[in-house]
Amino acid sequence: MPQPLGSLKETPSQTGGPYVHIGLVPNFCDIAGVWPTDLGASMVNTRTLGERITITGRVFDGLGAAVTDCIVEIWQADATGLYPSPSETRGSSDPNFAGWGRCPANAETGEYRFETIKPGRVPYPGGGLQAPHISLWIVARGINLGLNTRLYFADEAVANAEDPILRRIDPPARRATLTAARAGAAYSFDIHLQGPRETVFLDI
């Protein structure tokens, strides 16, 4: 027998279940006082650099019903394209920008909402730049492994056309599922788990 490699297997995922709010957003589900505020509730303050935007949307199941018990987390670069992460080695990001946000869907309407800034462009390994984008992670009852996708911005047509990830989506018509429509400073981004408009989900 050769030497064992000593490597481990990733802990397998299990669904967040219907009560995922208790652990992730306890104040949202009326468990007050354990900690002061829910983590990820605000991403910006008055000094955050960049263009202020809001992102709203809903997650829909295979029958077109809004998923009212999901939680959406987002992760994005600051206005100059730097991530607020120790793994960001190119420079220091905006100290007034968190980069990460978490929002439970509204229990009646299913809407999620983030107040953030438009991210800058981030390099692509091997050269070039990615189009401005936000990474999303979605968990809910019935989702066995958190779903990854990305939001791109409809008003960034030139950058989107050269984005290496978007360009790999085939057929090209599905690229539109990752593009948020703009109205003023508000972007809307609905996510479809199944059906003819199924969102492109990512194996990252």
Binding site: H21, G126, R141, I165
Partner: protein, 256 residues
């Protein structure tokens, strides 16, 4: 209004983690569509996922400082209880390490926990089980791993409970875990089960995982060495996050 400061590495003498992650073994994880767990039927993507190598967007991720934690955040027996009171149920310690696939400890990782009370009842408005609420039990907690990747929480052993799936399906006793890593691609939610629970092999959610060895990875053994005499039993639950590729002898491309 304040927002979290951009993080500094939790252990400043360690270089930051910057490599790309090993590909996720999706045969080890549950599939999206698992019909015996009925809710997955309408919530499972049906088209192929788009696979691509990690970019900075996946290799970076939020980290959280110990300053967000309160003294009782990892003590579910007391963090919702009235002063001088405590949650009802078998007192337990759950402890372990967060490691990566290369078996290295992962420090500075935020863990969030949630669970039912000792009767199997969650504190949630959508919960309809007839078991009683415990006025001294909220059911949430959190911790951040130490330099050696270790964490611990004190809680009561949750009860099993029935759930509307089949006519008579029961969840084995379990604690939910949410785990951050150093990169957004490591983000994970899972459930910890208790050694010896006869409901484990019967559970449709457990059985969304195909490989018996993967299921065993979610079962925490009784750990007598970590018990506190006359106080609490203990269970050990190690967690493995995706590892980063070694960059030994690797050509670094411009902009990578």
């Amino acid at each position: 209004m304040n927002v979290p400061r951009p993080p500094t590495p939790p252990f400043a003498n360690e270089p930051p983690e910057t490599g790309a992650f090993f590909a996720r073994d999706r045969q080890w994880h549950p599939a999206a569509l698992t019909p015996a767990y009925k809710t997955s039927v309408l919530r499972s993507p049906q088209k192929a996922l788009l696979s691509f190598g990690n970019t900075l967007s996946e290799m970076t991720g939020p980290v959280f400082g110990h300053n967000i934690l309160g003294d009782l955040d990892n003590d579910l027996i007391h963090n919702y209880a009235r002063p001088g009171e405590a949650a009802i149920g078998p007192r337990i310690i759950v402890h372990g390490k967060v490691l990566d696939e290369r078996a290295r400890p992962v420090p500075g990782v935020l863990l969030e926990f949630w669970q039912a009370n000792a009767g199997g009842r969650y504190r949630h408005k959508k919960e309809g089980y007839l078991a009683a609420l415990d006025p001294n039990f909220g059911g949430c907690g959190r911790a951040i791993t130490a330099a050696d990747g270790s964490y611990a929480l004190r809680t009561i052993k949750p009860g099993p409970y029935p759930w509307p799936n089949g006519v008579n399906d029961w969840r084995p006793a379990h604690i939910h875990f949410s785990i951050f890593g150093s990169g957004f691609a490591q983000r994970l939610i899972t459930q910890m089960y208790f050694e010896g629970d006869p409901l484990i092999p019967l559970c449709p959610i457990v059985n969304t995982i195909k490989d018996p060895a993967a299921i065993e990875q979610l079962i925490a053994p009784l750990d007598m060495a970590a018990t506190i005499p006359m106080d609490a039993t203990a269970y050990k639950f190690d967690i493995v996050l995706r590892g980063r590729r070694s960059t030994l002898f690797e050509n670094r491309l411009e902009g990578n």
